[in-house]
Subunit: 199 residues, 2 copies
């Protein structure tokens, strides 16, 4: 029913997350309505993004250089490393504007169920980074699942002989949430991680 | 904060309708996660869609041929022409599967407010199509706005000396809507266009 090129374009948009058939059609038609120059540049940009973006050799963040701007930034505290599963979290964490340390992207989490062991994720380079620092701090920003916990425990264990402070993000009630509608596990964690506000 | 190529890609996704900053970021990253072959083909598809798609010389529909498959289709009733503002409506109308006539895309509506007159939209080719047919039927599927009404009136007037049946889509309550929440104008139209179901 669609002309072939449009059908194909709709198909590609549908491959992207959260884009159903109707949205894909809308996006494809909107793409046709861009100017000729924009369409050519859009097409080039997609190709270039895939071609030019690689991983920082220090932290594993997405970058177009060998070492990402965060790892290059002298004004940041290189003694604090925030450990994350996925580079996408870096964009979110940077948006808070309050973290001035560096990052380490694991590219996965330990998951015995899926046969993913410590050697399958970007852990050895974390150990070697830590070993070169003087009393560093690791902040584990991993999701509170079995895999996140397994990875947290492993990192804690493998670094137990080194002088390193390890913390994890607090679990608790998300800002704006109604306590009545929270799931039990979150409530339990919020109780466990409760913060004293007066003695 | 984003690598340049990613930033640019996010920018292009944000140009598309209904895509905010957060979604654009998600789409751009998902694009990076496609395979290299897919990315190259996606990039080509965007370029080709813009390059190869043009308008049917008869009805104005989007097509990669000189004459679109609907106008070429001998099994359709070429004596019935559904008149629409925009080719996008063809995709929706075709999905109903119940219309077997042909289309005519006006590429706009008469709008004195915006200085758009009959000569600024694809009307003269409609008149010439109609004049070559034997007692044709025009179905006006234009939106119920001032511009839609102005265009409807103009078409009615300019064809008043010709043997042509003209109808418009019915206005009324959309299926699934709560009558309590309908706007006044829709209710008024639904009353006006009420259909006798028994005498």
């Amino acid at each position: 029913m669609y002309p072939l090129d449009l059908e194909k374009l709709i198909g590609y948009y549908q491959k992207l997350p959260g884009i159903g058939e109707k949205s894909a059609e809308r996006l494809a038609i909107a793409t046709l309505e861009l100017s000729e120059d924009e369409v050519l540049d859009f097409s080039e940009t997609i190709k270039n993004a895939k071609k030019n973006l690689t991983r920082c050799t220090i932290c594993g963040h997405l970058t177009d250089q060998e070492i990402c701007p965060i790892c290059q930034d002298e004004s940041r505290n290189h003694n604090i490393i925030c450990v994350i599963e996925d580079y996408k979290s870096i964009f979110s964490l940077e948006k808070t504007g309050t973290f001035h340390g560096t990052y380490h992207v694991l590219n996965g989490l330990i998951s015995p169920m899926d046969d993913i062991g410590p050697e399958d994720i970007n852990l050895s380079s974390l150990i070697s980074r830590v070993s070169k620092l003087n009393n560093p701090e690791l902040i584990l920003a991993l999701k509170p699942t079995v895999e996140g916990e397994a990875t947290t425990l492993y990192i804690k264990k493998i670094l137990e002989d080194q002088k390193v402070t390890i913390s994890r993000l607090s679990y608790g009630i998300p800002i704006g949430a109604e306590i009545d509608y929270l799931d039990n596990v979150t409530l339990e964690k919020a109780l466990e991680d409760r913060k004293k506000i007066s003695e």
